[in-house]
């Protein structure tokens, strides 16, 4: 009798353990009839907190849809890939790497058309090119930033150098950086990222009338053209003069702490720098003297995309509209630039001296398509370009750009 009870107990315990392990994540069952939409974001810390508040606001404002915010943080790509691989991707997700992921995304053209022409026109035209593959649109622009030159007014005043203007060339920048580095102890004139993203770096080639590839996707004679070599060399030269340092991150930390006088970055650091009380200014990126044109900037645009396997596409679309709508755009001013013309007008964003340079860079940058959209095997080309940038800019190697680029062009 005792044995039987004992055995029964063991059996029950075993079953409970096993079943509780399986219980975990699973049921997508509706609670109270609301459609559930999963929304994945790549932000961290304070940005994530404000996003959670906005998601809560949406949930409270209506009764049919409940959105859960999934914070993927730095492992965003890994988690999204894993989700797509197992057919379990979130319904709505932040997206920028369309070439890699578009096959698992839902084309949104029909949804956009249903909203009427005004809806589409309200977004800046340049942004659509960054959110589509061939003719299909896969994401709705959430926000964007171009890149511009940040400079520290106090350091410039201390060194007695005239502040940068929109007409500057790289020679002007190099001269100013050199003077500052020499005059002020412990301060370097310019900083740039050591492991730069090749996707971003292409803007310097565009500014010099070339690109990684031509329209057909050929690398040879484009990546290693003289203009391209010049674009790669300009950074190395400033470093060789002792007027620039390479940074691990974008350069904001060094800029905030007053170690560098200038760096090129997007609008992401504006609120951070304001919070620190740094006395800084923003101007256009310098132009290449021989290019005969103004500098071009890459558009770091993020969009909201929908999973092809989503079971609640209509609900997901409602949420996408909300998140990319006017109200949300206004909330995000100070972190990203608004993608909607109406918001820019109503909030007077163009008049703000901290945002205007980004919009002026935007105007100079329409009509360029990044190589990632033109090349089939961008992954492997990007890898080689990343390595090439490192070889050229690593302070211990400083290889000759022409040799390195010829090598990369030869391999593709």
């Amino acid at each position: 009798m005792k044995r039987k009870i004992g055995l029964l107990l063991v059996l029950t315990l075993t079953m409970v353990t096993v079943l509780s392990a399986c219980g975990g994540s699973g049921g997508n069952s509706d609670s109270g009839g609301k459609t559930k939409v999963r929304f994945a974001s790549w932000d961290n810390a304070e940005d994530l907190d404000s996003q959670q508040e906005l998601v809560d606001k949406f949930n409270v404002s209506q009764d049919e849809i409940e959105v859960t915010l999934e914070a993927y943080g730095d492992d965003y790509d890994t988690k999204i890939s894993a989700g797509m691989g197992s057919g379990d991707a979130p319904d709505v997700m932040y997206m920028w790497n369309y070439p890699s992921y578009y096959e698992a995304l839902e084309p949104l053209d029909s949804y956009i058309e249903n909203e009427g022409a005004e809806y589409k026109d309200n977004f800046y035209e340049a942004l659509w090119a960054y959110n589509q593959i061939d003719e299909d649109i896969y994401g709705i622009p959430v926000g964007f930033t171009t890149h511009a030159l940040f400079y520290n007014k106090d350091i410039f005043a201390e060194a007695g150098v005239t502040e940068p203007t929109d007409d500057w060339t790289w020679d002007d920048l190099q001269a100013a950086a050199k003077t500052i580095s020499e005059k002020i102890e412990g301060v370097t004139g310019f900083s740039y990222q050591l492991q730069a993203d090749p996707y971003d770096f292409e803007m310097y080639l565009w500014s010099n009338n070339t690109a990684y590839v031509d329209e057909a996707g050929n690398v040879a004679d484009n990546l290693n053209s003289a203009e391209s070599v010049e674009a790669f060399s300009v950074f190395q030269n400033i470093q060789k003069e002792g007027a620039a340092i390479t940074t691990e991150g974008g350069g904001t930390d060094e800029f905030r702490s007053g170690k560098t006088a200038m760096y090129i970055y997007g609008a992401w650091s504006v609120s951070t720098l304001d919070g620190d009380g740094v006395n800084y200014g923003i101007v256009d990126i310098p132009a290449f003297a021989d290019s005969g044109r103004e500098a071009v900037s890459i558009l770091s645009s993020s969009g909201l995309a929908m999973s092809k396997d989503s079971k609640n596409k209509e609900a997901a679309w409602e949420f996408i509209k909300y998140w990319t709508g006017e109200e949300m755009n206004k909330e995000r001013i100070g972190y990203e630039l608004s993608a909607l013309k109406s918001v820019v007008e109503s909030e007077g964003v163009m008049e703000d001296e901290k945002s205007a340079p980004f919009y002026s860079m935007l105007e100079q940058s329409t009509g360029y398509t990044p190589a990632s959209f033109l090349v089939d095997d961008w992954g492997s080309l990007a890898d080689d370009l990343e390595l090439a940038l490192e070889r050229i800019n690593n302070p211990t190697t400083l290889e000759d750009p022409q040799t390195v680029l010829d090598e990369v062009a030869g391999a593709h």
Binding site: L11, T17, V18, S81, M84, G85
Partner: protein, 307 residues
């Protein structure tokens, strides 16, 4: 009554069923699935296509990075394993000495092994910083200008070796317990015969702990080949791919280039390599490992060194 007998027979299986289910679901199942995946071209976002041995052929013939990463990992293992063992043995010998406060030293030596690899990577990232790092500062005090550990491709590998030596505590502890178990009369007899401590170490301690050395060598090699967390967090495979270990290469193939089938093939090749190395070491172990129990049991020459 037959019922009771059946239940009695079944009860062991019921007891271990949670573990078996866990093993099948979390270990054996994924293992077999990854083997199957390695025969497919399996991109994350679209359909998988069967390619047979295509992945393996591509790996060995077309992919230069495969060979580079493999060589790099082998180089790392070749430096790391002897170094790790040496340090562990040395520290173990230190804490067997009857010194005052030896228990505190034991704790101090062991603590780094308990720290998570993420925290270790962050700490060492700061220590190894070329401009502000503590290591270069200490070196400068004795007149050496330390290299830029994490930026200079010539030194990054040594930086990884240095950082991974941080986890030497576990091996040290295993050595320590083994050394402590050596009967003290052996040492007494030896010192009566006039052997000094160095001779005692090489003639008594070392032979007796060879089984533990075998265990530690094998675990060390397995860990060295699978090294991923430290590399990913400290150098990201850089600079200039000088620390692009095999584990990092597999991870990038899977999650950066979205080639799950290819990455599975990578993983299985590594599994086979480690298997072969381990088997080889086991084979050779009969030549240098000394098992006390076997000597007591048999008189025949199985334990005699190869002449």
């Amino acid at each position: 009554m037959k019922r009771r007998k059946e239940l009695k027979k079944a009860s062991p299986y019921i007891f271990i069923s949670p573990w078996i289910i866990g093993f099948i679901v979390f270990t054996a199942g994924p293992l077999i699935l990854s083997l199957i995946m390695s025969f497919y071209d399996w991109p994350v976002t679209s359909e998988a296509t069967f390619t047979g041995l295509g992945n393996y052929v591509k790996m060995f013939t077309e992919d230069a990075q495969f060979w580079k990463s493999l060589k790099l990992t082998l180089k790392y293992a070749a430096i790391f394993v002897p170094l790790n063992l040496g340090i562990a043995l040395f520290l173990a010998m230190l804490i067997t000495q009857p010194v005052r406060g030896v228990k505190i030293y034991r704790t101090i030596f062991y603590i780094p092994a308990v720290i998570s690899s993420v925290a270790t990577a962050i700490i060492w990232g700061w220590i190894l910083n070329g401009d502000y790092g503590v290591l270069n500062y200490l070196l400068s005090l004795i007149g050496i200008e330390g290299p830029n550990w994490l930026v200079d491709p010539a030194w990054a590998l040594m930086a990884i070796v240095l950082t991974s030596a941080f986890g030497v505590g576990t091996m040290m502890l295993i050595f320590y317990t083994d050394i402590k178990n050596i009967p003290i009369d052996l040492y007494e007899a030896a010192s009566l015969d006039g052997a000094n401590s160095v001779k005692q170490f090489f003639s008594i301690t070392l032979p007796i702990i060879t089984p533990t050395i075998l265990f530690n060598v094998i675990t060390s090699i397995i860990n060295a080949f699978q090294q991923l967390t430290l590399v990913m967090l400290l150098t990201g495979g850089g600079p200039l791919k000088s620390t692009y270990f095999y584990g990092m290469y597999t991870y990038d193939n899977a999650f950066k280039h979205h080639k799950l089938g290819y990455a599975s093939a990578n993983a299985w090749v590594m599994f086979v390599i480690i298997l072969i190395l381990t088997a080889f070491i086991f084979r050779s172990s009969s030549a240098w490992v000394f098992y006390e129990a076997e000597v007591k049991g048999q008189k025949t020459g199985k334990r005699r060194k190869n002449k």
